[in-house]
Assembly symmetry: C2
Homo-oligomer: 373 residues x 2
C-alpha cells in the first residue's frame, strides 16, 4: 500500500511521472486535487468531478470536525461513503485553518486552543487529536498537525519548527490505521536553512510522502520557487511530494519543474464564485460589461461542457442574475482547465518534452502577469 | 406544425396521451415543464434536464425582457441557442409577473404600466408588446397577454375578461412568426359562468391550444378541480390544454383526470431552495434535526442520482452548510419526482389503468395533507 512508482523522468528538469497507490486506487502524478472543504467540491457532483478527470479530492479536517463532526462521518461509513467519492481522498491536519480561520487561538507546546468561526465555541487540537479526527474521516492520505507560520519572520519560523517537528513525531506515534499514509509537512518559511533542517528532520522518519507547507500564503512567486529549488535536491526522489494550497496554473508548472507530484487549491472553485474563469495567461471576469453580447465561449479551444455550449453573454447573464448555474458552469470550466493542464503536463513528461512545454506555457504568464484581476 | 395527435384515451376519466408537435420536437403528453425563469432551470444544466427526461421548458417573458433583454437574446440567436435547450420552449406572456412581482402597476384598457422589481425603472406591456418580446425570444409556444385577477372577486373577474379577451385578439393580430403557436389563456376565476364564457370566446378563434390561467393563486384545491370540471367538457378535445403554474403532485394527477395535457411550475426548484424534497404523500425538509444521522436516501425506491448515492445525513449537512450541491441534489430529486410521475401517468393511460393509478396515488395525499410543511 502507498507504493510510489516513478514511471518517467524529464531529462531537462525535476519533473516526473508517477503512480501513487492508495487503498482507493492509484493516482497518476503529477496530480491536482480539487478541494471539497465541507465534503463537497463546491457546485460539482461527484459524477461531474469524475467526468472532468479528477482522481484525488482534498477535504478539510477543521471544517468537518466542526460540522457535521468527524464521529458522525465515521458512524456513517467514513468520508468516502459520506460524500460518495470512491477515489482517493486527502485530508489536511486542520493546522492551517486553525491559524487562518478561527476567531481566536492560543498556541502552546502541546497544541492549539481556538474558537470556531461558525459559533465561537472553544475547541482544542493537539497532534494526537488531529490524527484521531483524520482516522474518523478515513482519508487515504492524512497530514501531521503543524503550525503554518508567517513565512518571512525568521525567528518566529525557527521557533515554530520546535513545535511542528515534535508534533509530527507525536502524530506518528498516535496513528493506528494501516490504510492511511501520514505525510509530514516541511515548514521553514522562505529560509533555505530552515527548510533544509525541516526536510532532513522529516526524512529521518522515512515517511510515505512529504508535504511542502507554508507557501502561497503571501510570499512572492520568486520566493516560492526559491523554496522549491532548495527542497528539490534534498527530498527523496522515491517518495511523493505534495505542494499544499497551490493551484495557480503557472505555479503548477513551476512546481512540476521542481519535482512536485501533488497539488491542491481552492482557486478554481473560489474564482468561479467570483465570476472569473481561467484563460491561458490570466483570468476572465464574466461580469464585465464587455461580454454583454459576446457570442464566443470563454475559450474557443476548450473542451469543457461550459465552453462547448455557452456564450460569454449567457454566462454574464447568469452571474448578473446570481443564478446557481453560473457557479456550476464557471466551476466546471476552471476545474477542467487545471485538470486538463495536468493531463498535458503528464503527457509532456512522458513524451520527454516537458521543458519545452513549460517554457511555452510560462511565457503567457510572464507577459500577462499584470493583467490578472 | 403544432399538430396534436391523441394517441390513447383513458376510459374512466378525461385523461389522454398525446403527441404535440413543435418546431423543436414532439412532446409526449401529459407533460410537466420545469421552469427556467431567467433562462436557466435553477441549479440544473441542460444536460442534467435532458437526463432527467425533461422535454419542455418554460421561461418567463417578464424576467427575460428586463434582464438580459429580449433583443439581446434575439441577436444571440434566440432563447434556444442562448440557454442551450434544444427542445421545445414555452414562454408566458409576462402578464402574471407584472401583476405579482412588479413594484407598482397601472392597468388600462390598452395595457399595463409597471415598475421593474429589479431597479424600479418604468415599463409598459401591451398585448402587441408581449407578442413582440416573445417573438424575439423565439419560444415554440407563446401566450397571449392577459390579466390574472383575484380569483374570487366576481365583479372584478368579470370586468377583467373585457380586457383579457380583446387583448387576445390584438395579440393574434400582432403575431408574425409562423413557427410559434399562440395559446389563449382562459380566465374567469372560480366562477363557472365566467370560465365558460372565456373558454367559448377563445374557442371561436380556433387557437392551436388553450391555457387555463388564474389558478394555483390562492383558491382552494376543491375550487381548482371544480374549474377543471367545468372546462373539461367545454374545451375542444383535439387541442392541447395547459394548466398554468400547477405542479403539486396531487394537482398534476387531478389535472390529468380532467383532460389537462401540459403543466408547469416552479415548485420542484423552489422547494429545493427551501431544503425540501418531494416524497410520496408530502414533503421532507432535509434541514430537520431528525435526519442528522440518517443513512437512508430521501426515498428508497427513487431512481434519481441523489437517492442512488446520498444519505439524508449528507443532504442535511449540505443544506446546513449552505452548499450549492445541496440545491443541485434536491433540485435533481424534485424534478425527477415530477417527471417520473408524468412518465407513470402516461404509462398508466396507455395501459388503460389511469383511474386506478390516480385513486391509489391520491389516497397518499388525502391521508397526509396536513403533514405537508
Amino acid at each position: 500500500m502507498f507504493e510510489f512508482e516513478i514511471t518517467a523522468r524529464d531529462a531537462g528538469s525535476g519533473a516526473r511521472n508517477g503512480r501513487f497507490h492508495t487503498p482507493h486506487g492509484a493516482l497518476e502524478t503529477p496530480v491536482f486535487a480539487p478541494v471539497g472543504t465541507q465534503a463537497t467540491v463546491k457546485a460539482l457532483r461527484p459524477a461531474d468531478l469524475h467526468e472532468l478527470g479528477a482522481t484525488l479530492v482534498l477535504s478539510n479536517t477543521y471544517h468537518l470536525y466542526l460540522r457535521p463532526g468527524d464521529e458522525l462521518i465515521r458512524d456513517l461509513g467514513g468520508l468516502h461513503q459520506f460524500m460518495q467519492w470512491p477515489g482517493p481522498i486527502l485530508t489536511d491536519s486542520g493546522g492551517f485553518q486553525v491559524f487562518s480561520l478561527s476567531a481566536t487561538r492560543k498556541i502552546d507546546a502541546d497544541g492549539v486552543t481556538f474558537q470556531s468561526h461558525l459559533d465561537g465555541s472553544r475547541h482544542r487540537f493537539t497532534p494526537e487529536r488531529s490524527i484521531a479526527i483524520q482516522e474518523n474521516l478515513g482519508a487515504d492520505v492524512i497530514m501531521a498537525f503543524d503550525e503554518c507560520p508567517p513565512p518571512t519572520d525568521y525567528e518566529y519560523v525557527k521557533q515554530s519548527l520546535t513545535r511542528t517537528h515534535p508534533w509530527l513525531e507525536r502524530g506518528l506515534a498516535a496513528k493506528t490505521r494501516p490504510d492511511q499514509a501520514l505525510f509530514g509537512i516541511v515548514q521553514g518559511g522562505v529560509f533555505p536553512d530552515l527548510r533544509e533542517a525541516s526536510a532532513r528532520f522529516m526524512m529521518a522518519l522515512d515517511l510515505p510522502g512529504y508535504a511542502i507547507g507554508g507557501l502561497a500564503v503571501g510570499e512572492t512567486k520568486a520566493q516560492m520557487t526559491a523554496v522549491l529549488d532548495v527542497l528539490h535536491p534534498i527530498l527523496p526522489q522515491q517518495k511523493p511530494r505534495y505542494l499544499m494550497g497551490v493551484g495557480a496554473p503557472e505555479d503548477l508548472v513551476n512546481g512540476v519543474l521542481r519535482g512536485v507530484d501533488i497539488f491542491d487549491c481552492v482557486l478554481p472553485t473560489r474564482l468561479a464564485r467570483h465570476n472569473s474563469a481561467f484563460v491561458l495567461g490570466g483570468r476572465m471576469n464574466l461580469r464585465n460589461a464587455q461580454y454583454e453580447r459576446d457570442a464566443a465561449p470563454i475559450a474557443a479551444d476548450c473542451a469543457c461542457y461550459t465552453c462547448q455550449h455557452f456564450s460569454r453573454a449567457y454566462l454574464r447573464h447568469l452571474v448578473k442574475a446570481n443564478e446557481i448555474l453560473g457557479h456550476i458552469l464557471l466551476t466546471t470550466h476552471n476545474v477542467h482547465f487545471l485538470l486538463d493542464l495536468m493531463r498535458q503536463i503528464r503527457q509532456a513528461i512522458r513524451a520527454g518534452q516537458f521543458r519545452a512545454f513549460a517554457d511555452d506555457f510560462l511565457q503567457h504568464y510572464e507577459v500577462n502577469q499584470s493583467g490578472i484581476d
